[in-house]
Each structure stands twice: as C-alpha cells, then as structure tokens.
C-alpha cells in the first residue's frame, strides 16, 4: 500500500490524488455515452471538464457522486476511486458518498424553504450538528464561505427562491459545502447567470480550492482558463486530453483539442 501511494504521488504534480477513474464506460440504454475514460483528479485543485455539448462531460461528472443512479437506464462500468475506495463497490451507500462528494447544478435549485433551512438541510439529514447553536454555526460558516453571509444575514428566514440568480447559485454552493464534503462537483454552475454573478461565483470557486477538490464542467473556455489548474477535454465520449490548464490552452497535444480551442468544433 505504502508503495503504491508513493508511486501515485510521484506521477501527479506534487499533490494528492483525490479521484481516480479507470476505464470508465457509461451506457444510456444502448447509447455508449462515455468510452474508456481514465483520469486522476488532484485534491485542492480546480479541475475543469470542457468539450462540445453532448460530449459526456456532465455525464462523467455525475458518475463521481453516483447521481446517475437516479436514472433507470444508466449503466456504469469501470472503477472510480475516491481516496482509493471504489465508489461503485456494492458496500458503498450512495447517500454516504454524496455527503462526501457535493454537487452544484447548472440551474440554481434552492428548495422552496428559507435561506437558513436550505443551508441547514444537509447538516440536518447527515446529523452534523448536535444542537441549534452548532447548526447556526455551520450555516453561518457555509454562507460566509460562499461569500453570501453579508448579503443575507438579516433575512435568513426569507425564501431561498426569492433571491437573484447569482445569489441563488451561491446559496446552492453554501448548501453543498455545509455538509462538509471533500469534493465539490459543479455542473456548468454559471451557465444560467449574468456576467456579474458569474464573476462572483468564479471568484468563489477559486477560494473553495483551498478546502476542496473542485471539479467543474463548463461550456466556456475562458471560464476554464480563469478558474482551473487542470483541464480535461472531452469529445464524443472520449477523454481526449488531460493536462495543466496552461498547457491545454497554449500547447494542446491533440489536433481535436486544438480545433476546439480555436473554435472550429463545438
């Protein structure tokens, strides 16, 4: 074991490997949506998945916290390891897994509850607080971390659905980090937001890197360049290229990556 960890560490760029995927295949019924994806995602890094729509980047993202389980016709093969543990092992409870691997969705989806209840929902169901004071603390810390505290501290009882789009998305991020995950998955978190809200969320993502391994799916290459350290390029269900973000954008190895970067496909 010691040796293996050592070897893996040597292969990565100075950081721990948080998520490791081996020959992952995903099928939607007959449709082979993800083909042979191998990837290693480092801890405390922002990793971006880019690629044209329908390339499988979101599908792959949803495999990492087994959100695809909720779709009947979806089948996943291959291994995905988090901290060396296969998350598709029959002993793994997806509920426990998702507490460890949080997710933020494309469209802000606050529950029709108060802001406080939205953030407190995760800690409550996972039993993270023994009393009201602790829960208050978790809510406050999460909202602070999501850079939302100052805007909402006076109206925690207001409905989460009544906020602006950018606020809603930051609320969803706060909600996700309140369960104290180790990995945060973001599925095009800014696609429904205006430029100002996008900038706020991007800033937030950069800060979150200090605590989590962040994986973000994005449509926008500029966004990937701005927020991520590592970038993976997906095309037609294949992982074409995975490298440091700088390298992908300045010196792509694969001609397909180059075409996409330069705007010829997508």
């Amino acid at each position: 074991m010691e040796d293996m960890v050592h070897v893996e560490r040597a292969m990565s760029t100075q950081q721990d490997i948080k998520i490791k995927a081996n020959t992952v295949q995903v099928y939607y019924g007959e449709n082979h949506a993800i083909k042979d994806v191998d990837v290693e995602i480092a801890d405390k890094t922002v990793t971006a998945f880019i690629g044209p729509s329908g390339c499988g980047k979101s599908t792959f993202l949803r495999c990492i916290n087994r959100m695809n389980d909720t779709i009947d016709i979806c089948r996943v093969e291959g291994d995905i390891l988090i901290d060396g543990e296969d998350i598709y092992h029959p002993n793994v409870d997806p509920v426990q897994l998702r507490a460890k691997v949080g997710m933020v969705f494309q469209k802000p989806n606050p529950f029709p509850k108060s802001i406080y209840d939205n953030v407190a929902y995760g800690p409550k169901i996972h039993g993270l607080a023994r009393n009201k004071a602790e829960l208050d603390e978790i809510v406050e810390k999460s909202l602070r971390k999501a850079a939302l505290w100052d805007e909402v501290k006076d109206r925690l009882d207001a409905a989460g659905t009544g906020m602006s789009g950018g606020q809603q998305q930051r609320l969803c991020i706060a909600r996700a980090i309140a369960t104290q995950p180790e990995v945060l998955l973001m599925d095009e978190p800014c696609s429904a937001l205006d430029p100002i809200a996008t900038a706020q969320v991007e800033e937030l993502i950069d800060e979150l890197r200090q605590s989590f391994s962040v994986v973000i799916v994005t449509h926008s290459m500029q966004q990937a360049a701005r927020v991520s350290q590592k970038t993976a390029f997906f095309h037609l269900g294949n992982l074409v290229e995975f490298d440091d973000t700088d390298k992908i954008f300045t010196n792509p190895q694969d001609p397909r990556t180059e075409s996409y970067i330069s705007g010829r496909i997508g």
Binding site: M67, G102, V104, N109, F111, G122, R175, A176
Partner: protein, 493 residues
Amino acid sequence: MSNLLIVIIVFGLGAIGFLIGRNRAMASGEGDMRNLHSLPFYYGANVGFSTMIPAIGVLALWLIAQPFAINNAVSGMLSADNIEAAGSRSLVMSDVRRVSEGLDAAVTQGVLARDEASEIAFDTTDVRALLASVGVALGSEVSADTLRAAQRYRVMANRGNLLKTIAVIAAALAGLAMSYRATTKDFRARNVVERGVLMLLICAASIAVLTTLGIILSLIFNTIEFFRLYAASEFFLGLRWNPSFSGRGGGSELGILPLLWGTLYISFVALLVAVPLGLFAAIYLSEYASKRVRSVAKPLLEILAGIPTIVYGLFALLTVGPLLVDVFGNDGLLGVGWMSGGTAVMTAGLVMGIMLIPFVSSLSDDIINAVPQAMRDGSYGLGATQSETVRQVILPAALPGIVGAILLAASRAIGETMIVVLGAGAAARLSLNPFEAMTTVTAKIVSQLTGDSDFASPEALVAFALGITLFVITLGLNIFALYIVRKYREQYD
C-alpha cells in the same frame, strides 16, 4: 299543434330555404360558381339558418312566456277562501292545471264534446268522477272557483297554442323571404353564415352559465318559499331533524345541524381512509415505482374511480356493513357490541374512503410530478435518501397542491349521495359513536324529494334549502381548492 310537429315544420322550411337559396345564388351568378362572392353552400345555409333560428327563438320564448301569462290571468280568478283552504296559491294552481288537463283528456277521449268542456257547470256535474273516468285522479273535490279557473285556463292555453303555431311559422316564413330576397351574387353569404355560427357557438358556451344560473335560481326561489313556511333560524340552528308527513306543515322539526354533523363525520372518516392511502400510493407511484409497476398499478387503482357510486352503495349496504357488524357488533369477533346495524358512519365512511383513494392519489401524483426534477437532484446531491427527499423537500414543496387535492376530495365526499343513502342509515343523530347510523344532507335531499312531492309543503321544500347549503359548501371548497392549486402551479411554471 304539438311542439314537435312545429319544430319539424320549421326544419322542413329550413331545408327548403337551403335548396332555393343555393339555386337562387347559382342563378344570380349565371351558373358559374366563380361569379359568386361565397360558395353556393353558404348562400343556402344563410337562407336555411335565417328561416330556422328566429322561428325556434320565437318558439322558445313563447314556451317560457305563455305559462306565466296564463297563470297570472287565471290566478286572479281564485278566491282568497279557496287559497286558504288548500294552504297555498301554488297548490290551487296545480289543481287548476290538473282539472284543465283532465278536461282536455275527456275531450280527446270523447267523453265530452268539444264545447261541452268549457260549459259544464259546477252544480250539475260531478267533475271529480268525470275526470277519474278518463284517468285523471284528483286529490280533493273540485270547487266552483277551481273549475271556472280551469275552464278559463284551458281556453287560454288552447288559444295560446294556436297563436304560437301561427307566430312561429310566420317567423320562419318571414326569415325565409327576407334572406331569399337578399341572395344575390355579391351578397357576402360566408361572412353572414360564419357570424351566425359564431353566435351559435357563443350560445352553446353560455349554457354553462345558464346551468349555474338555473341551479342558483331554482335553489333560491324554492328556499325563499321554504323560509316563508319555516323559520330560517330554526332551520340553521335546530338540533333535531324530525319531519312529519302527516299534515301540511306543522309538527315538523327541520334542523340542519344533525344532517351537517353526519355529513362532516362521514366525510372525515372517508378522508381518514383515503388521504393516507392515496398520498402514500401517489408517493410510491411517482417516486419509487418502476415504469412497469406504475403502468399496471396506476390504472388498476383508477378503476376504483370509474366504478359508479351505486356499486359502492351496494357494497356498503350488503358487504361492508354486515362485515363490520360481524367484527364490532353484539356477537362480533371483538365482542364489543358497538354496532347494532350494518348501516353506520363507519360503513359509509370506509366505503367512501375507498372510492376517494384514486381521486387523492391521481391528483397528488400530478402535483408531486410537477415538483421540478432539479429539487430532487439538489437533495440527492447533498446525500439525502429518497424518503428524506420526499418528506423534507418534495412534500413541503407540493403541500399547497396536496391540500388543494384533499379539499377537492372533501368536497366530493360531502356531495356524495348513493353511498350514504344506502350505507349510512336514515336516522338523523348528533352522536360521536362512528358505529351508529347517521344521515347526511344528500341522503335527506333524496328522501324528501322522492315520491310524489308537491313542492308546497315545508317537508318537500326543505330539500332545496338543504341543496343550497350543500351547493354553497361544495362550491366554496372547490373555489378555494382550485385557487390553491392554481397558485401552486404558477410557482413552477
């Protein structure tokens, strides 16, 4: 001439109008359709419609107006004594109508000659026996007053019918002639016909309003009549329901409270059965069940909603009631002796609950499905289990809609008739024991209005007051429930 015959004649004239109108248009276009403004069909239709619609309108108006006119003219002839003796003016008037019908029957059967009918005098003829011989039975002897009024009534009715026939056919012919003359090749027949059709469509749509109006007016008029005979305060606040059919008025206690209590109690039991079962079934079907299970279980459950209520009534009376007595009755399995007869609040409530299961479940199913998938994803993404998601995210989000569904079910339960008529019993009672027989507003409407009711005694008229109470309660519940559901839908649209 009978109304049916008049209608047939009008339709015949309409058909003739269609043909000659079309031919005239073709002739005016010199036999070439392209010279006409509209297709020949429209010219024909214009003439046809112009013939039939005014005539039918005249007929309808006449049919409504004539009885009023005659009633007014005739009821003036009745003496105050006569009215007092019978109890009310409308009772005497119904006698008058029956006598007049009897005279008509006597004439058609040849017992009386045509002019004899209007001349027979009160002191020389036994009118009651005469009418009985032609099959019209009268409840009491005919007074002189009544007979004269009846003769007058008959004459006026006959004259009215003749005038009606003339007026209707004249209207048809006038419409025919006018529209026929207007038929030239430049006449915009299509536009006119389409405007006419649009008017017809509007009339059809207005029937919904007329129906509501009809319900409200018929309930209100009869209820006012009832409150004239019986104090409203005693009706709304009375604790006893004890109608007597012995005499006209008097001696009856017609308090609505025991009936309302029975209605609400039974509905409550029904909801107690239907809401948990329906709600859990809906949750399972929309959140857990595989497509196959759903495609089998949902239609099967909905069969319960398609079964006529008379079937449930019989099921309550003959199956569930005896079964409950076997368990809770005197010699029952439990030996508790709570139940003495098969008809009880429990029987009716249980069966009504079964009937309402699919009602609650399919409404809730729709409402749960309207909660966006993003809500579920958000919750699962945080590591919630399915049941936590349902209980803490989906149900609270769907709550207003579900409350609306339950209110709709409650209104259904309150208005349900056959199950309570057969399953709940006939005794009006203010009791807490659900194993006792009680009765409801709907059941009493049926029992007060079934049989030969003359709409003059408070015992029959009370049904309209019960009806208006029922109507107001269910309408209120419905409007409130639909409002809630619509609000809820808007939230996610």
